[in-house]
């Protein structure tokens, strides 16, 4: 109504000027400028803890800036709650979804709205929602319960929630970090449909190729300062972007020493296990990982990767088969037995499994060390030793946190991941199960993790790397095995992507030749 009609394609919908935000001990945003045009996808890049989420939380009305001004559609605004931001057409989709699992999609979308008042005439709203989801290619059943949905579908619900509230400007905080590659493509189609219909999108990501693929322009933050503001993506190479983010050259190719595999550390024999829903997730899986090698496990998400990690680490019972570590049978033994055998585990889900959100950084890094000297002293704990240990790790792994007493829930996503990595790697494991270890990390940090994993390997650890990033798997691993529906399809040592891709769809290695021929004909 009082919205001005689009006059030129370069119409500016959001203008943030000189935004300053302090947190105790850190300057998260230091006079940051940011500008969003109508109908564009604008990527926001930056290292972990650079202040991306903070800047966007300010725009979405969650934080109040200490300084600076915000113009939306040319008018100054000062939001004091997300509600006001959404009234101005700005909606944010956070990395951690905020849905009620026991309710349906439609109920979740309507939650907190003034309408419907008392009578829930759900079918009417369900139709509206269905229409909306069709318009933007967001496939989801309004009547499904949220707990039944995959992560990708839940994200769609979050997007619908914002669209339903009339958002014209969507902020997406690392939306692709939790998605499988196919889901990423679907998301990108949705994003394109949305901008085609006049919406504007801010897209936070650490994946440079995604940024080049989807974004029109890009802004970069480094330690709270903007190092690039609204640069055309076309004019930037991956290396340029990385340099702007990190402030130095980032080496994308890894220096790898030749692999010198030693004795077998992990031996899996005919493993069978169920997933949380009681369906067979592992069906007779066998695998070996030797000392001094990194074995990559490739596969489409949900083919038993998580269950496999759980079974090896003792978090899940195997129904059949054996898990041997260093020749000792630890099948269905406690997690503690595994830890004693030097099994370390970087879990996929860092907030719900890998950390205790309300406990301090110190308490979180000593999780597997608190029973060993010097932190343990008789039945007591040596608080000073614990603090010293934590501050060592904080330095070594460049964890950015105001202090060691900070509850880890206040750390930025990447820094939380570093806390977990620091804890798991510093235990000098014999066997390391690393699941999506670089998820949510910036390019510089990814490089660091890769180097750490290689160092583990060179120090004689056996590493099982589970990842959905094929590139990462192929670069890091000495051999890649492919999992499909809970069984190993085969093994690739030369990084043949085509073979891996075929096996990921369920073709066994011995049938590969036939399939390739079929494809040629």
């Amino acid at each position: 109504m009082d919205q001005p009609t689009p006059s030129s394609p370069a119409e500016i919908v959001v203008q943030m000027c000189g935004i300053v935000k302090h947190f105790p001990g850190v300057l998260a945003n230091d006079h940051v400028d940011f500008e969003l045009r109508k109908g564009e996808i604008h990527a926001l890049l930056g290292e972990n803890g650079a202040g991306k989420s903070t800047l966007m939380n300010i725009l979405a009305g969650l934080y109040h800036p200490d300084g600076g001004s915000i113009l939306v559609n040319g008018k100054p605004v000062s939001f004091s709650s997300p509600r006001q931001a959404i009234q101005a057409g700005i909606g944010m989709i956070h990395q951690h979804f905020m849905l009620v699992p026991s309710q349906t999609v439609a109920e979740n979308i309507l939650l907190g709205l003034d309408e419907p008042r008392f009578f829930m005439q759900l079918s009417k709203y369900e139709q509206e929602i269905a229409k909306l989801s069709e318009r933007f290619g967001l496939k989801v059943d309004p009547r499904a319960h949220v707990w039944q949905l995959s992560v990708g579908e839940q994200q769609r619900v979050e997007i619908l929630k914002m669209l339903y509230r009339g958002a014209n400007i969507l902020i997406m905080d690392e939306p692709t970090a939790v998605l499988a590659p196919t889901e990423v493509d679907e998301l990108f189609n949705t994003l394109r449909a949305m901008v085609a219909q006049g919406k504007s999108i801010i897209f936070i990501s650490h994946k440079l190729h995604e940024v080049s693929q989807i974004a029109d322009r890009v802004s970069v933050l480094r330690r709270g300062v903007s190092t690039a503001s609204g640069v055309e993506t076309r004019s930037m190479t991956k290396t340029d972007l990385a340099r702007l983010m990190v402030g130095r050259e980032v080496i994308f190719s890894l220096e790898k020493n030749p692999c010198q595999p030693g004795k077998v550390v992990l031996q899996l024999e005919d493993l069978w296990a169920e997933n949380d829903k009681g369906l067979k997730a592992l069906r007779g899986l066998s695998l070996q990982v030797r000392q001094g090698e990194i074995v990559g496990l490739a596969g489409v998400a949900g083919n038993g990767q998580r269950e496999l990690a759980d079974v090896i680490t003792g978090l899940r019972k195997a129904e059949k088969g054996r898990v041997l570590v260093d020749g000792d049978d630890i099948t269905n033994r406690s997690v503690k037995t595994g830890i004693h055998h030097g099994v370390s585990h970087i879990p996929e889900d860092r907030t719900h499994v890998g950390s205790a959100p309300n406990l301090s950084v110190t308490d979180n890094v000593i999780m597997k060390k608190y029973k060993h000297a010097p932190i343990a002293r008789g039945w007591m704990m040596n608080a000073i030793a614990a603090t010293n240990y934590a501050s060592e790790l904080k330095q070594a792994y460049e964890i950015i946190a105001p202090n060691l007493e900070t509850p880890v829930r206040l750390l930025s996503g990447g820094n939380l991941q570093r806390v977990i990595l620091a804890r798991e790697i510093s235990s000098q494991p014999a066997l390391m199960i690393a699941m999506q270890p670089t998820r949510g990390l910036d390019v510089g940090a990814i490089e660091g993790v890769h180097r750490l994993l290689l160092a583990q390997r060179d120090a004689g650890a056996a590493v099982l790397l589970i990842s959905e990033e094929l590139e990462e798997l192929i670069d890091l691993s000495d051999r890649v095995v492919v999992i499909y529906e809970g069984a190993i399809m085969g093994e690739v040592a030369n990084g043949n992507i085509q073979h891996i891709g075929l096996m990921m769809t369920g073709v066994r290695q011995d049938q590969l030749a036939d399939h390739m021929e079929a494809a040629h004909e």
Binding site: K75, S80, S81, V335, M381
Partner: protein, 374 residues
């Protein structure tokens, strides 16, 4: 209601608190919520036709007015401290032990058994009596905590229900013994314990220090203070306490770190029960000196409030218990005696309400500014 709010010149909004509040904040909040509760109580008193200030002054005088009544306040505070600690420990692991009342009664029973079974002869030395009674009281409480702990760990039985039910069983169990077995000449109470089984009181030392005349504060205070320090040490300085805090914050992370939740569930419930049992023992041996029915004006339940008000901090349990001891004592002095109960209730409600402010922040906006923005 909405119309009314619209007419105000400012708007009040709540927003989630994303930044960690400063350390002092929870304490100020607790203090304020007590103050607010007292103010609400004052309004209720005034509406009921009483004079609130006179009542409060009376409560203060009746519980802190001189060393004599203060001593009585402490006597009431001792079981609250122990039960408050019991709840603090369990709540830290998010085990909702609301069975401290039953564990208290069973602890009293266990301690009495030392005299009444008898475990020790009547002329056993006092120190032996006291130690044995402590052991029996705590063991009995621990058993009463073990049952729901085991049921929860093994069969996922909700501990709120099981501990609540065990309260009734404990009281009936006690009643059976005082009515039927240890009844003293048909009265519903046991015989008075021999002097050797009494915990020393200040008044026992009146010969050396005349000032102690009539002061009934007993050795249980020392036990409670020691227990507070021990629970603090366990929670913040021991490996076990670390496990408890970890399980309480994120059980899945604890599992992932190799910590046994079932084992800790049982152990924490046992120690929690033992502490509540110690409260029962201290009440029997320090105050009542016999086993009878009415030994608790709901200490076990008040302990829950105490633990919350102390923000699950074992050291803070001590002053908070003294405050509540004063309220219980005032209940005897003030007519109608329901008023201190009422205050307790209001304090709990305003306390729970204040928790909201830990997580949300209130912002007041001037309206005209907002219109400008739009």
């Amino acid at each position: 209601m909405n119309k009314l709010l619209d007419r105000l010149p400012f708007r009040i909004e709540l927003e989630p608190r994303l930044v960690q509040p400063p350390r002092w904040y929870p304490w100020v909040l607790s203090l304020l919520s007590v103050v607010v509760a007292l103010l609400i109580g004052a309004i209720v008193l005034a509406l009921a036709g009483g004079n609130p200030w006179a009542s409060y002054a009376h409560i203060a005088r009746a519980s802190f007015g001189d060393i004599g009544v203060f001593s009585d306040t402490l006597v009431k505070a001792i079981p609250l401290m122990l039960v408050g600690l019991a709840c603090t420990l369990a709540f830290r692991m998010k085990l909702w032990n609301i069975g401290a009342e039953g564990q208290f009664f069973i602890g009293a029973f266990g301690a009495s058994a030392v005299v009444l079974l008898p475990v020790l002869p009547e002329d056993a030395p006092r120190w032996l009596f006291i130690i044995t009674m402590i052991v029996f009281g705590m063991a009995a409480g621990a058993i009463w905590g073990f049952i729901p702990g085991f049921l929860k760990a093994r069969f996922q039985v909700n501990e709120i229900i099981s501990t609540l039910m065990l309260n009734y069983i404990a009281i009936s169990w006690n009643n059976y013994f005082i009515f039927a077995i240890w009844s003293d000449g048909g009265f519903q109470m046991s015989k008075v314990f021999p002097r050797n089984a009494w915990m020393p009181r200040l008044t026992d030392y009146v010969d050396t220090i005349p000032m102690f005349r009539g002061l009934t504060t007993h050795f249980g205070l020392i036990l409670a203070l020691v227990a507070a320090v021990v629970v603090w040490l366990i929670l913040y300085r021991s490996q076990w306490g670390y496990e408890i805090r970890l399980v309480g914050d994120n059980p899945r992370a604890a599992q992932y770190a190799g910590i046994s939740i079932t084992r800790n569930t049982v152990l924490v419930m046992m120690l929690s029960g033992a502490l509540a049992g110690l409260a029962g023992m201290s009440e029997i041996s320090g105050v009542v000196h016999r086993l009878q029915g009415a030994i608790s004006p709901g200490y076990g339940f008040t302990g829950i409030i105490v633990a919350w008000l102390a923000k699950l901090n074992p050291i803070a349990v001590v002053p908070v218990s003294i405050l509540f001891g004063a309220l219980i004592l005032a209940g005897r002095e003030i007519q109608p005696s329901g008023i201190p109960k009422l205050l307790q209730g209001i304090i709990l409600v305003s306390l729970i309400a204040s928790d909201f402010l830990m997580r949300y922040r209130i912002r007041v906006h001037r309206k005209d500014l907002l219109k400008e923005a739009k």
